[in-house]
C-alpha cells in the first residue's frame, strides 16, 4: 500500500536527477550519466515494487460492496463524485447499522488505516444496496464481485472560482494501467540510459543529454500518474518539450533543428484538441479536472452524449499528433534526427503512446461518446486503421533503417488506436506493452548497426552482411522482428491477435461491435509489417557489406540491454494467455493475468465485453504473416518474381504509386510548403503589411492630418485674420511710437525728472482733490 500511495516519489526522483545532472553533472567523473542511471535504476525498482504492491492490492478480497467501497482508497477531496458516493453509502450504512463508529469521510486524511477501517466497518455491518451510480457490470457478472480499487492521492494545486467548489488538484492515480506504464517507462528508460552511456559517449553535450533524458522520464511518469486532466496536459506538454530538445540534440545542423521544430509544432496543433477537449470535459464534469470524476460521470450517463462526442473528437485530434496518427503523423519520421536511444525511448516505446494512454485513461468518454459498443465504425477506429495500413505501406520505400522503424511505429500505434476504437481496451494496452519491448529492441539494434556503419542509417547504401560481424545485434533483431510480425509464440503474436479478435468480425465473436472494415485494414497492415521487416533484415544483415571501413560488434553496454529487451519481447506474451485455446485450457492462475492486473472494473470504467481467443483468426493472421515473410524472402534472397523488379520504372500505375509513397502521400508537402509556407510567408507578410501601412498609416495619417490642419489654421486663420488684426494694431502703435520716440532720449536723468514731476503731480492731484 505504501508504494501505491507514494508513487509520486518515482517522478520526483527523476526530476531531482534532472536538476542534479544539470547543475553538478559536468563536475562528476562520468559527466552526470551515473546520476541518471542510478536514479532510473532506483525508479525501476520502485516501479516493480509498486507493481507488486498493486498485484496484492488488486487481488485482495474486496470487503464491502458497491462503488463506495471500491473507491475507499481515494483520498478525500480528490474527486467530488467519489465523495458523493461515499457520503451516500455512509448515510445508508449509519441508517442500517447504528453501532458503527461513524467515521466521517472528512477525517480520512492520508491515513490508510482510516480508509481500511472504513471498508472493514462496512463489511461488518452486512449487505447494502449498491448506490444509484453503481456499475452494472459488477452486478451482472454475478459470480465473485471483483472491483478495482484505484489508489488516489492528491494535493491542492490552485483554486480558481467559487471557493470550496473549484479546487484544481494534482496527485497520483494509481491503478493497473498507471502501474503498467510505470514499469514500461522505467524499464525502457533504464535500458536506454545504460545503452546511451556507451552510444553517445564523447558527445558534445553528453551531460545535457542525460539531464533531458531524466527530465523526460520524470515528465512521462508525471503524466502517467496524473490524477487530473490538467496534470495530464502538463505532463503531455513537458514530454513534448523534452522530445523537442532531444530531437534537436545536435542543433548545429539545420535539418535536426527543423525536425525538432516540426515535431513540436505538429504536437502543438494537436494540443489545440487536447486543450479544448479538456476544457469541455472540465465544465461537463461540473468544474472538475479529476479523471475519476470524469470517468464516473461519463460511464454512468452523467454527461450528455453530444458533449462526450465533441470532447472525444477533440481529444482524438490530440492523439493524432502525439501518437503519430494520420493525418498528423508527419513529424514522427523526421524525429529520427535525434540520437537513436532517444528514438527508442521517446519515439517508439513511451512518449508516442501517451495518446493511447490518454484514450485508455479517459476511456468512458470515448466509449460512450463514440458509441463504440454495438457499432461497426467510429472515428477512433478509422483513424487507427488508416494509420496502421498506410503507415505500413510507407515503410516499404524507406532506405533509412530508422525511418522504416518510425513508420512501423506509426503503423503499430495505429493498431493500438484501432483496438481502443473497437473496444479492445486490454488488447490495446497489451500491445502497447509488448510493442514497447520489441520496438525498443529494434531501435537500439538499429543504433548498434549504425555504430558499426559509421553513424549512417542508410541500410541500402551503407549496410549489408552485418549478421556475421554483429551476431548479438543480429539475433536480437531477428527475435524482435518476429515478435513485431506476430510470429507464434512470441509476444507480438498474442497482443496482435487479441486486437484482431476484438473487432468482433470474421470468425470471432464477443467483441463490442462488428468492425469488418477495420479488421481487413489491420490484416493488410499486419501483412505489410511482416514483409517490410523482412526487407529490412535483408538489407541490413544479408548480402554484401556496402559501406566502408570494418564494422565491429558494439560493447556490452549496448548489447546487454538489447538481449534483455529482446528476451522480454519474446516472452511477455505469456502474461496474457487466453483462458482456452481450442481444446487446451490454461489454469486460471496463469491466464489473463495481464487483464486482471490492468483492466479496471467498476464505476469509473465502462462495461466492455471481451472477445474470446479465436483459433481460425489466429491461424489466418499467422499464415498471412508467414506468407509475407516467405514472399519477401523469395523476392530478395532468391530473386523470385522477376517481373516485380523495376516494376515502378516500367508500369505507370506502379510508378505513380511509388512516387506517392516516396513523397509520403504529399502530407509533408501540404503541411510544410502549403500551410506553413502560407502562414509564414504571405499571411505573415500581409499582416505585417497591414500593420505597417494600414494601421500605422491611419495613425501617421491622423498625425499628418493634424499637422496639415494645424498648418492651414496657422497660415490662413492665424496669420491672416488674427495676425491681421494684431499687425494692424502693431502698425498703428509703431507709427505712434515713431512720433513719440523723440521723447525717448535715453537720458536717464531726464526720465528721472519726468518721473518725479509726474509722481508729484499725481500725488498733488490726490492730496488736493481728495485729501
Amino acid at each position: 500500500m505504501w508504494f501505491l500511495t507514494h508513487a509520486w516519489i518515482i517522478p520526483a526522483l527523476m526530476a531531482l536527477s534532472f536538476l542534479l545532472i544539470l547543475f553538478f553533472g559536468k563536475k562528476m567523473p562520468k559527466k552526470g550519466s551515473e546520476i541518471g542511471i542510478a536514479a532510473i535504476g532506483i525508479a525501476f525498482i520502485l516501479a516493480l515494487l509498486t507493481a507488486g504492491s498493486w498485484y496484492t492490492h488488486n487481488n485482495e478480497e474486496v470487503e464491502g460492496h458497491g462503488d463506495a467501497a471500491a473507491m475507499a482508497d481515494v483520498q478525500e477531496g480528490c474527486s467530488n463524485e467519489v465523495d458523493h458516493l461515499a457520503a451516500e453509502d455512509h448515510g445508508e450504512e449509519t441508517e442500517d447499522a447504528g453501532d458503527h463508529e461513524g467515521e466521517e469521510p472528512t477525517d480520512v486524511g492520508d491515513s490508510d488505516e482510516g480508509t481500511d477501517d472504513h471498508a472493514l466497518g462496512q463489511s461488518d455491518s452486512g449487505e447494502y444496496a449498491a448506490p444509484a451510480a453503481t456499475s452494472t457490470a459488477v452486478a451482472s457478472e454475478g459470480e465473485e464481485e471483483h472491483v478495482t480499487r484505484p489508489v488516489v492521492r492528491c494535493a491542492a494545486w490552485a483554486e480558481i472560482g467559487t471557493p470550496g467548489s473549484s479546487l484544481i488538484t494534482w496527485g497520483t492515480m494509481v491503478d493497473g494501467q498507471s502501474v503498467l506504464m510505470l514499469v514500461v517507462v522505467t524499464l525502457i528508460s533504464l535500458m536506454v540510459f545504460i545503452y546511451s552511456s556507451e552510444y553517445v559517449s564523447g558527445d558534445r553535450r553528453y551531460t545535457h543529454y542525460f539531464a533531458f533524458l531524466s527530465l523526460f522520464s520524470a515528465s512521462m511518469l508525471f503524466f502517467v500518474l496524473a490524477q487530473s486532466t490538467i496534470q495530464m496536459i502538463v505532463g503531455w506538454e513537458l514530454v513534448g518539450v523534452c522530445s523537442f530538445v532531444l530531437i534537436g540534440h545536435w542543433w548545429e545542423e539545420k535539418p535536426n533543428s527543423n525536425a525538432a521544430l516540426k515535431a513540436f509544432l505538429t504536437n502543438r496543433v494537436g494540443d489545440i484538441g487536447l486543450l479544448i477537449g479538456v476544457a469541455i470535459l472540465y465544465f461537463a464534469a461540473g468544474r472538475s479536472f479529476s479523471i475519476l470524476d470524469l470517468n464516473i460521470l461519463a460511464a454512468n450517463g452523467g454527461i450528455s452524449h453530444g458533449i462526450l462526442l465533441v470532447a472525444s473528437v477533440c481529444l482524438i485530434f490530440a492523439v493524432m499528433s502525439k501518437s503519430g496518427q494520420f493525418i498528423l503523423h508527419t513529424w514522427l519520421p523526421d524525429a529520427m534526427a535525434g540520437p537513436t536511444p532517444v528514438s527508442a525511448l521517446i519515439h517508439a516505446a513511451t512518449m508516442v503512446v501517451a495518446g493511447i494512454y490518454m484514450v485508455a485513461r479517459l476511456y468512458p468518454v470515448f466509449f460512450e461518446g463514440l458509441s463504440i459498443s454495438g457499432s461497426s465504425v467510429n472515428f477512433l477506429a478509422i483513424v487507427g486503421a488508416v494509420t496502421a495500413m498506410f503507415g505500413a505501406l510507407l515503410a516499404f520505400v524507406q532506405k533509412d533503417i530508422k525511418k522504416v522503424l518510425a513508420y512501423s511505429t506509426i503503423s503499430q500505434l495505429g493498431f493500438m488506436v484501432t483496438a481502443l476504437g473497437v473496444g479492445a481496451w486490454t488488447a490495446a494496452l497489451f500491445h502497447l506493452f509488448t510493442h514497447a519491448m520489441f520496438k525498443a529492441t529494434l531501435f537500439l539494434g538499429a543504433g548498434s548497426l549504425s555504430n558499426a556503419a559509421h553513424h549512417s542509417f542508410d541500410m541500402v547504401n551503407d549496410m549489408g552482411g552485418m549478421r556475421k560481424v554483429l551476431p548479438r545485434t543480429f539475433w536480437t533483431f531477428i527475435v524482435a522482428t518476429a515478435a513485431l510480425a506476430g510470429i507464434f509464440p512470441l509476444s507480438g503474436f498474442w497482443s496482435k491477435d487479441e486486437i484482431l479478435a476484438g473487432h468482433g468480425s470474421l470468425f470471432s465473436a464477443g467483441g463490442n461491435g462488428t468492425y469488418h472494415v477495420m479488421l481487413v485494414m489491420l490484416l493488410i497492415g499486419a501483412f505489410c509489417t511482416a514483409a517490410y521487416m523482412t526487407r529490412t533484415i535483408w538489407y541490413a544483415f544479408y548480402g554484401e557489406f556496402r559501406g566502408h571501413g570494418t564494422p565491429h560488434e558494439s560493447g556490452s553496454r549496448i548489447t546487454v540491454p538489447l538481449i534483455i529487451l529482446a528476451t522480454l519481447g519474446a516472452v511477455v506474451g505469456v502474461l496474457n494467455l487466453p483462458e482456452e485455446i481450442g481444446p487446451f485450457t490454461f489454469p486460471e492462475s496463469i491466464s489473463l493475468q495481464f487483464e486482471h492486473f490492468v483492466e479496471p472494473v467498476g464505476a469509473y470504467f465502462p462495461t466492455i465485453s471481451h472477445a474470446e481467443f479465436n483459433i481460425p483468426l489466429a491461424i489466418f493472421s499467422l499464415a498471412l504473416a508467414l506468407s509475407a515473410v516467405l514472399l519477401t524472402y523469395l523476392y530478395y534472397w532468391k530473386g523470385a518474381f522477376k517481373f516485380l523488379h523495376g516494376l515502378s520504372e516500367r508500369n505507370r500505375v506502379a510508378g505513380l504509386g511509388k512516387t506517392i509513397l516516396v513523397n509520403k502521400y504529399y502530407f509533408d508537402w501540404l503541411y510544410t510548403d502549403v500551410i506553413t509556407g502560407f502562414v509564414k510567408g504571405p499571411a505573415a507578410r500581409a499582416t505585417n503589411w497591414f500593420n505597417q501601412h494600414v494601421l500605422d498609416g491611419i495613425v501617421d495619417g491622423t498625425a499628418k492630418g493634424a499637422v496639415v490642419a494645424g498648418q492651414f489654421v496657422y497660415e490662413n486663420i492665424d496669420q491672416k485674420v488674427v495676425d491681421g488684426a494684431v499687425n494692424g494694431a502693431a502698425i498703428t502703435t509703431s507709427e505712434a511710437g515713431g512720433v513719440l520716440r523723440h521723447l525717448q532720449t535715453g537720458r536717464i536723468q531726464q526720465y528721472a525728472a519726468l518721473f518725479f514731476a509726474a509722481a508729484a503731480l499725481l500725488a498733488g492731484v490726490f492730496v488736493v482733490a481728495i485729501g
Binding site: 536723468q749 531726464q750 525728472a753 518725479f756 514731476a757 508729484a760 503731480l761 500725488a763 498733488g764 492730496v767 485729501g771
Partner: protein, 186 residues
C-alpha cells in the same frame, strides 16, 4: 530713571534747547545739502554730504533713537563716505574744480525739486499741522528704563522682524558678491 521721568524730561526740560539745537542743525544740513548738489568739486561734495549725514544722525538723537544715531555715524560717516571717496578716486574724477559736473537740466531740476518740496510740505502741514512729538509709543507696553529701548529694538528685530532681517542679510550678501563680480577685472 523711570518712564515718567523720561517723558517729563523730554517734554519739558529738554524742549527749548532741543528746538534750538534742531534749528541750528537743520540750517547747517540744508546748506550742506545744497552744497552737495551744487559744488563743482567732487571731493567737496563728498565732504558736504558728510555734514548732512552727521546732521541726520544728530536728528536721530533728538528723536531719542540713540541706537540709530550710532548706526548712522558708524555706517554712513565711517563706511559709506569712505566708499564714496574711493569711488571718486577710482574713477579718476577731477580732484579740483571742474565746470562740467552738471548737465543742462538745471531749470528742470529746480522746478521738479520745488514741485516735490511744495507738494510734500503742503500735505505734511495739512495733515500733521502742529502735532507734538510724544515718545509714548517707544515705551508702549513695556516699562522702559535705562538702555532698555535698544533692548526693545533688538527684540523687535529678532522676533517680529526676523524674516525681513534675514532677507536683508541675504540681500547684503548678494550685493557684496554682486559688487565684487561687477567690479573685478577679468
Amino acid at each position: 530713571m523711570n518712564a515718567q521721568l523720561i517723558s517729563l524730561f523730554a517734554a519739558e526740560t529738554f524742549e527749548v534747547p532741543a528746538n534750538i539745537a534742531f534749528s541750528i542743525i537743520a540750517i547747517f544740513m540744508v546748506i550742506a545739502a545744497i552744497r552737495v548738489v551744487t559744488t563743482d568739486n567732487v571731493v567737496h561734495a563728498a565732504l558736504w554730504l558728510m555734514v548732512v549725514l552727521g546732521g541726520v544722525g544728530l536728528n536721530f538723537l533728538l528723536l531719542q533713537a540713540e541706537f540709530l544715531a550710532m548706526t548712522q555715524f558708524l555706517i554712513y560717516l565711517g563706511a559709506i563716505i569712505v566708499l564714496f571717496l574711493f569711488g571718486v578716486m577710482l574713477t579718476r574724477a577731477p580732484l579740483g574744480r571742474s565746470d562740467d559736473l552738471d548737465n543742462k537740466q538745471r531749470p528742470i531740476g529746480i522746478v521738479v525739486g520745488l514741485l516735490v518740496l511744495g507738494l510734500v510740505s503742503y500735505s505734511v502741514i495739512k495733515t500733521f499741522g502742529s502735532d507734538k512729538l510724544d515718545f509714548s509709543a517707544y515705551d508702549g507696553s513695556q516699562a522702559v528704563a535705562g538702555n532698555n529701548r535698544t533692548e526693545a529694538l533688538s527684540d523687535a528685530i529678532f522676533s517680529q522682524y526676523l524674516i525681513p532681517f534675514e532677507v536683508i542679510s541675504v540681500l547684503l550678501l548678494a550685493a557684496l558678491i554682486g559688487a565684487i563680480v561687477i567690479a573685478r577685472r577679468d
